[in-house]
């Protein structure tokens, strides 16, 4: 029998519901794991040890735990998602000491379901990055190899789940920030359909692309988390009216009636780690054997997705981050002479280089005289990319691709080459541009590092990708391999 902190949400819940395990024990075991491992991994920016223990105690004493769907389950939250009375730093110096007075809808819903919030996890500053190295507040290491990056931007949440320091976690995905670190850390990560989960309380990076989603060690764990956090929220005008889907009951291991599309443009050998392609082809074979049918599809505008993404995301970011001006909250430069200096120094001192780069890019692409050529054009291409997927989904029920062209890279390997960092998002950004749900799940290893398989679904059809992911998981054992203990 696995240690309590190593159990998935569903397994843990089964024991909690049966009364075999108490919330105090479940949360205690996880807090112990954090105490033992996180100095090495650096997944958390802040751990709410006392409060989590107190809540676990209250839940144990009240006996309410059994009836709550996530009663007693310890969960980590990416530190760009607000929890009342707690710091929300976005891993930025500018918000280092900012305490949020309110709680994000997604967290509120998890807490209402009985989940116990363990703490806040590290990320690339304002979720801008693919390695968590852009954090101003700490380094997160990949639990599979401490010399490597956990991916990003939700690297802390992915590492926490991989290192068994949380049963599940919330992250946010703007261009792959859930799926890529899930892939790098060998866990499951789900980016829901745009609008499925309320963004109220998620600090905006690029509003039209951002989406909160769960990490878990099993597909079913992500399915359950999504059931609980999804659904309309009157505080977010872009949240969809559709009720939260019922997902877990459809995880029956069946894929025989499904057609899976393989985009021609994604299966090119150039720029892709051969070890990644091998694992993905093996996964295809597994699903084929299970009865799924594969067809080649085309997404003709794939070559433009990275450019389109970085135009739209930086434009929105340049506006979204204007509020961090040193006037009302957050870091304010001291001993300034005038307003202009207050702005310049607060922002110069508060933001890191990647954030500054994106604000400058975004300001430029929205400028008079450049808007049509850049932002306007990018919006048009975005429509074409969405149409590519609509046409592909006429021929298939879901699309399968690698999550990332590579496995986790060494810390520092790309720090001086932002463009190469941007290009590693090639398989993930299209789902954000098209608003589609995407799932990343472990499909084996390449040179000892986890490889992620990505499944993309039709808008609002998380059910199908979760069902296929779960069916794959049932037929393989990759998810059972645990990262090595700390040396």
């Amino acid at each position: 029998m696995s240690a309590l902190h190593a159990l998935g949400v569903t397994e843990l819940r089964a024991r909690l519901a049966a009364g075999e395990v108490s919330p105090v024990q479940a949360v205690g075991a996880t807090l112990d794991a954090i105490a033992a491992r996180d100095a090495e991994v650096g997944a958390y920016l802040e751990v709410f040890a006392d409060e989590a223990a107190a809540r676990a105690r209250a839940l144990t004493d009240s006996g309410a735990c059994k009836a709550l769907p996530l009663g007693g389950v310890p969960i980590a939250i990416k530190d760009n998602i607000c929890v009342a009375g707690r710091r929300t730093t976005c891993a930025s110096r500018i918000l280092r000491d900012y305490v949020s007075p309110y709680t994000a809808t997604a967290v509120e819903r998890l807490e209402a379901a009985g989940a116990i919030i363990l703490g806040k996890t590290n990320l690339d500053e304002f979720a801008m990055g693919s390695s968590t190295e852009n954090s101003a507040l700490g380094t997160t290491r990949n639990p599979w190899d401490r010399a490597r990056a956990p991916g990003g931007s939700s690297g802390g949440s992915a590492a926490a789940v991989a290192a068994e320091m949380a049963a599940a976690a919330l992250g946010s995905d703007t261009g792959g920030s859930i799926r890529q670190p899930a892939s790098f850390c060998g866990v499951v990560g789900l980016k829901p359909t745009y609008g499925r989960v309320s963004r109220w309380g998620l600090v905006a990076f690029a509003s039209s692309l951002d989406q909160i989603g769960p990490f878990g060690r099993r597909v079913v764990d992500c399915a359950q988390a999504l059931e609980l956090i999804a659904g309309y929220d009157e505080r977010d005008s872009t949240s969809l009216p559709e009720p939260a889907p019922s997902l877990c009951e459809h995880l029956d291991g069946e894929v025989s009636e499904l057609v899976i599309g393989l985009p021609r443009e994604y299966f090119v050998e150039e720029g892709v780690d051969p070890g990644v392609l091998v694992r993905v082809h093996e996964a295809i074979a597994v699903l084929e054997k299970a009865g799924a049918r594969f067809v080649e599809v085309s997404l003709p505008h794939t070559a433009h997705t990275i450019a389109t993404y970085y135009l739209i995301a930086t434009a929105e970011a340049s506006s979204n981050l204007a509020r961090f001006d040193g006037v009302r909250y957050g870091r304010r430069a001291e001993r300034v002479e005038d307003l202009q200096e207050l702005y310049e120094r607060s922002r110069s001192e508060g933001f890191g280089p990647e954030v500054k780069r994106r604000i400058l890019l975004g300001t430029f692409v929205l400028s008079a005289g450049y808007y049509d050529a850049y932002y306007g054009k990018a919006q048009k291409v975005r429509t074409l990319i969405r149409r590519d997927f609509e046409q592909a989904f006429e021929r298939c029920d879901l699309i399968l691709t690698p999550t990332s062209p590579e496995t986790a890279f060494t810390l520092g390997a790309k720090s001086d080459d932002p463009l190469s960092m941007y290009l590693s998002d090639v398989y993930t950004v299209s789902a954000n541009l098209a608003g589609l749900p995407g799932l990343s799940l472990p499909c084996g290893f390449s040179d000892g590092m986890p490889v992620g398989l990505q499944l993309l679904g039709r808008p609002l059809d998380e059910a199908t990708i979760l069902r296929v992911g779960d069916a794959f998981e049932r037929r393989t054992a990759h998810h059972l391999v645990q990262p090595p203990e700390a040396p």
């Binding site: 963004r199 600090v203 505080r235 005008s237 929205l366 008079a368």
Partner: protein, 514 residues
């Protein structure tokens, strides 16, 4: 003040367009649940959304959409089934998000108009569609009615206020009050159809009247609920081309609007007549010196980097909703005015005065209904009541007089029980303290004397006291008749019915009533 000669308007024509920002009458803000309240302590009507805390999102107040539709219908405009909120990006301490949410390329209301009426000075030679000369009253001025195009009206949020008061802020510091941040506004942009400061003021009055009629805004300038920017250019008379315009910002009273436009036009004329050129710029107006001055040149203007706000979905309006709002729209000033002329036989001028505000129009209709004497009611209201309000510097709703009281007073006069003169004496007290006009009349012994023997006695007395004057009249000179009438009225303490007195005097001195 200027060396532009007084007749510069013979050479130059002003071309004026106005941008009005009006606060909408809602309980909560445009995108947050914070209340819209005036006069609160700073930062006491503020929600995390107004503070732009990390992670908050705007949610559109649907009431604002309804009010914008109402305005669109009232100004005969197109209400767009699809409009878009955009971000206008700039840094300022009272702008918490670093951008203002506004409508840019696709506003909710486009292409409307309203009609204004301006009094013509006798020398004015402006050419409008129709001229009307008032016949029924000498005092009614000659007026020009003119249609003014409205380019667009769009929804946007107000900013907060920066407070630089050293007592509050202390030293060189500044403070921010965000109570106003996020208050819903409509920006209403006119076509450059206005040709004089007087027309500009008339446009503002007409617009304010409509806004109040349809309950869209209180449009109180003193509370900052109704603000105006003016675009001004000049061109040689007879030209159809538009000159380079300047924009005068933040005009806070009708008087300032008129003065500032005049001052700016003169500045431009002087500039051009001295061989210079008008440069596109934002101007400020100094009411003390009555002068405009350049605040910022267009070439140094901010690049606002507008783009559609990704936090808000496009605003879609069902045509059925527009029709439902149209059906519930109250009678508009122009419609009411036409009805008053037709239904009550009022002059166009009186109808215009009475319909300037919905409250005044309602006061008139209630009075008229209660006394069944619409013309008398109109006279009392347009002359006596408005004068009292002006003298006392109060609003209609602040006085004690009710339509029922005024109707009672009118009935007493109409039935001959109270002379007009004594009614006028009672009126200020009714305005100030209210009361039953009939009881007040009786109490003060003001009831008219109509008994002929009493009047005859006063007449005899007056003739006896002034035999010379009486003889003049007997000799055929009518002029002193009024003097004798005055004597009789004085003797009767104003209670004698003047017509009856005149008749009695004539009969007594001439033997006939002619």
């Amino acid at each position: 003040m200027s060396h532009a000669t007084g007749d510069w308007q013979d050479r130059w024509e002003m071309v004026i367009g106005l941008e009005v920002h009006t606060h909408l009458k809602t309980e909560s803000k445009l995108f947050s649940p914070a209340p819209v309240l005036y006069g609160l302590e700073p930062n006491h009507a503020v929600h995390p959304i107004d503070l732009a805390l990390p992670g908050v999102l705007p949610v559109l107040n649907e009431r604002v959409v309804e009010l914008a539709i109402r305005l669109g219908l009232a100004i005969h405009a197109t209400v767009q089934p699809h409009s878009v909120f955009a971000r206008k990006n700039y840094f300022y301490p009272d702008l918490p998000k670093g951008y203002q949410i506004s409508q840019y390329e696709e506003p909710i209301v486009s292409e409307g108009w309203l009609e204004i009426e301006v009094e013509l000075p006798s020398s004015d030679e402006g050419g409008g569609k129709k001229k009307k000369k008032k016949k029924d009253k000498g005092e009614a001025p000659q007026t020009l009615r003119k249609r003014i195009g409205i380019t667009r009206a769009h929804i946007e949020e107000d900013a907060g206020k920066s407070i630089h008061d050293t007592q509050i802020a202390g030293g060189d510091d500044s403070c921010i009050d965000l109570n106003r941040a996020g208050v819903p506004l409509l920006e209403i942009v006119s076509e450059p159809d206005l040709r004089s400061p007087r027309e500009a003021a008339a446009y503002l009055r007409a617009l304010r009247s409509i806004l109040r009629y349809i309950g869209v805004s209180d449009a109180d300038m003193e509370k900052g609920q109704f603000r105006c920017d003016a675009n001004v250019s000049i061109r040689p008379r007879g030209s159809n081309e538009l000159g380079t315009r300047t924009e005068i910002k933040n005009l806070n009273s009708f008087a300032h609007v008129e003065e500032a436009i005049e001052a700016e036009a003169i500045r431009q004329v002087e500039l051009v007549e001295d061989g210079g050129e008008v440069v596109q710029a934002t101007m400020g107006y100094d009411p003390e010196r009555r002068r405009t001055s350049v605040q910022r040149l267009k070439e140094n203007a901010d690049d606002y980097r507008y783009f559609p706000d990704p936090d808000l979905i496009p605003l879609r309006i069902d045509p059925a909703r527009i029709e439902a709002i149209r059906a519930e729209l109250p009678e508009l000033p122009d419609e009411k005015r036409a009805r008053f002329e037709a239904e009550y036989g009022l002059s166009s001028y009186d109808a215009g005065v009475l319909t300037a505000s919905r409250r005044l129009a309602d006061f008139f209709e209630e009075t008229s209904r209660a006394c069944d004497a619409p013309k008398a009611a109109a006279n009392w209201i347009t002359r006596d009541l408005l004068r009292e309000l002006k003298e006392r510097e109060v609003e209609l709703e602040e006085i004690a007089l009710t339509p029922e009281m005024l109707a009672g007073l009118i009935r007493l006069v109409e039935s001959g029980r109270l002379t007009a003169r004594n009614a006028a004496q009672l009126f200020p007290d009714l305005v100030a303290g209210g009361g039953d006009p009939e009881a007040m009349m009786v109490e003060r012994g003001l009831e008219a004397v109509s008994d002929s023997s009493t009047i005859d006695a006063f007449v005899e007395e007056a003739i006896a006291a002034h035999p010379d004057v009486a003889q003049q009249i007997r000799d055929g000179d009518d002029k002193p008749l009024n003097f004798l009438m005055g004597q009789v009225m004085k003797a009767s303490q104003g209670k004698a019915e003047p017509g009856q007195v005149r008749k009695a005097l004539q009969e007594r001195l001439r033997g006939s009533g002619a």
